[in-house]
Structure formats: structure tokens, C-alpha cells
């Protein structure tokens, strides 16, 4: 499955690296459907806590955040520092380069991506 994802990235080394980092997210998230955490397809540009059919914490719903590369970078650095009260039990990604790679991958998760179908 991972090999297919890497192949889909079309050789973009940053996205490929981001896909590999994304494996860290797969304990709770999937691109196309809600699991313990919400799905990630269409994440960029979405209002935090707005995805239908997922039960977000009130903290997330009230955050007023729109997920952009900048807000995702802050959140992924240390989710609970940015948003105490979130149920995202993840310490964060310290490396700014790795965060950027992951965010680049998340940005590919649009309706045209096979992972989102």
C-alpha cells in the first residue's frame, strides 16, 4: 500500500518524504474516511472542526482556525500547545523540514488524488 502511495507522488521527493512521515498519522487517521481522527482529504482550506459526521472536541470546533500551511505547521509542531483540549494525543514533529514535507503531502490529498476516492 505504501509503495502505491509513493508511486502516486510522481517522484516529487518532498511529497514522497511526506508520505512516509504520514505513516505516523495512520494510527488514528486515514485520507478518505474518518477513524479515531478525522479524514485528511480536503484538509487544506477547511475550517477546523467543521468536517461533517465527525465528533470533534468543543475546543477544535471553537478554535476558529482555518487549516493552511501556516496553521498546520504550528499545530503539527506541538498540537496540544497550540490547542490545549484537543484530543490529538500526539507530541508533534520537531523538525520544521519534516513538518513541511508532511504538509506538502497533506496538500496533495484533494478530490483528484486516488487516495481520496
Amino acid at each position: 500500500m505504501l509503495d502505491q502511495r509513493v508511486a502516486y507522488s510522481g517522484g516529487d521527493i518532498e511529497v514522497t518524504a511526506g508520505e512516509r512521515i504520514y505513516i505516523q498519522c495512520t494510527g488514528c487517521h486515514a485520507p478518505a474516511y474518518h477513524r479515531v481522527g478525522p479524514k485528511h482529504c480536503g484538509l487544506l482550506g477547511r475550517h477546523a472542526g467543521s468536517e461533517p459526521e465527525f465528533e470533534f472536541t468543543q475546543t477544535m470546533k471553537d478554535s476558529g482556525i482555518i487549516w493552511t500551511k501556516a496553521t498546520l505547521d504550528r499545530f503539527l509542531k506541538s498540537p496540544l500547545d497550540m490547542m490545549p483540549g484537543s484530543s490529538m494525543g500526539f507530541v508533534g514533529i520537531a523538525s520544521s523540514r519534516e513538518r513541511a514535507q508532511l504538509i506538502n503531502f497533506l496538500g496533495t490529498l484533494t478530490e483528484t488524488n486516488p487516495l481520496c476516492r
Binding site: 505516523q24 495512520t26 494510527g27 488514528c28 483540549g85 507530541v91
Partner: protein, 193 residues
């Protein structure tokens, strides 16, 4: 059983699965987890920190419920051989045991443990043969290891971190055994990332 990269035969995989099904959480691990269940009630945490620990534990419980449901799906799929089915049910039992201790800990911390969902989103249409089920389970177990690895540093209570590490180790063993059964290197690297 093989600990190198050589392909293993179906029979070897079957034997390996039958052997692996004997693995269970050790009494030491259960005692460790059970022992930490009272840790949060001793007043060392602030309310805010305890609330955070409860949220993290509940996220872990949600993932464990998902794993139990996934193994149930695999068990009822009709795709698993007797040996694989036995392993699947053993691993499912481990996840149920994780839920029990995590939920007990949440309650002792003054929280309310989350229940299982009524339905889960699983890629049922992609589960066509035994290998698909084992791959699906291996991916879930790998994800679980990642989730615990990412959560452990957040615990304010070191006993909770220790207990979560015990569960992480169990799920890493599941992952390795499933990889071995699939003919993959069970331990693909010196570090997990």
C-alpha cells in the same frame, strides 16, 4: 520461523502463526498496567494535566476499540486459515485487555472512558484473501505503534507512560508477527519511525 529476508513457505507461515498464537500479555505487564491505574489519584497532577492524560487515554481507547472491531471483521471474513484465525483472536484479546486497563485508568483518574462506535470504516472491498486481511491488520498494528510512540511523551504521569510503553511493545510484537506471516522482514529496521 524465519528472522532473515528469505521467503517463507505457506506451511512455515502457518506453523509460525500457530506458534505465535501462544503469545499473551505477561503477568508482569498486566501488573504494571494495573498498578499504574491508581497513579493519577495520588494528587501529583494538576486538574489540567490530568484532564489531558484522560483525553490521551481516551484517544488510545478509541484506537483499541477500532482494532478489536477490525480483528472481528477479519475473524468473520471467512478468509483466515485456522492458524491465522487463532492468532487474530489472540491479538483481539490483547486489544480488549488494553481497553480494560486503559478504561479502568481513565475512571480512576475521574474521567469517563469512551465506548466503541456502532460502526467503523474499514476497506472491506479490498479484503479478498487471507493476505489482504493480514496486511490490513499489520497496517493497523503499525499505526497503533506510531500512535503510542507519539502519545507517550505527552503523559504527565510517568506510570502512565510506562504502561503505554508496555502496550506499545505488545502491538509492535503483533506487527512483527503479522509481517512475518506475510513473508516480510518482521523487524525492518533498528528504529521505528
Amino acid at each position: 520461523m524465519s528472522f532473515n529476508n528469505k521467503p517463507i513457505s505457506v506451511l512455515e507461515r502457518r506453523n509460525f502463526l500457530q506458534t505465535a498464537s501462544g503469545i499473551a500479555l505477561s503477568g508482569t505487564a498486566i501488573a504494571l498496567i494495573g498498578g499504574c491505574a491508581t497513579a493519577g489519584s495520588e494528587g501529583s497532577n494538576t486538574n489540567v494535566q490530568t484532564e489531558q492524560d484522560v483525553r490521551i487515554l481516551n484517544t488510545a481507547i478509541s484506537a483499541e476499540h477500532e482494532a478489536v472491531a477490525a480483528y472481528q471483521l477479519g475473524a468473520e471474513s471467512g478468509l483466515l486459515s485456522a492458524g491465522a484465525l487463532k492468532v487474530a483472536l489472540t491479538f483481539q484479546g490483547h486489544h480488549k485487555a488494553h481497553i480494560d486497563v486503559l478504561a479502568s485508568t481513565v475512571r480512576k483518574l475521574g474521567g469517563e472512558a469512551v465506548d466503541a462506535k456502532n460502526t467503523y470504516n474499514f476497506p472491506v472491498d479490498k479484503l479478498i484473501k487471507e493476505g489482504d486481511v493480514l496486511t490490513f491488520a499489520a497496517e493497523l498494528e503499525r499505526g497503533a505503534v506510531s500512535a503510542y510512540a507519539g502519545a507517550i511523551p505527552l503523559f504527565d504521569n510517568s506510570d502512565l507512560a510506562k504502561a503505554a510503553a508496555s502496550i506499545l511493545a505488545d502491538e509492535a510484537m503483533h506487527w512483527a508477527i503479522l509481517r512475518q506471516a506475510l513473508g516480510l522482514d518482521p523487524v525492518p529496521g533498528a528504529f521505528f519511525s
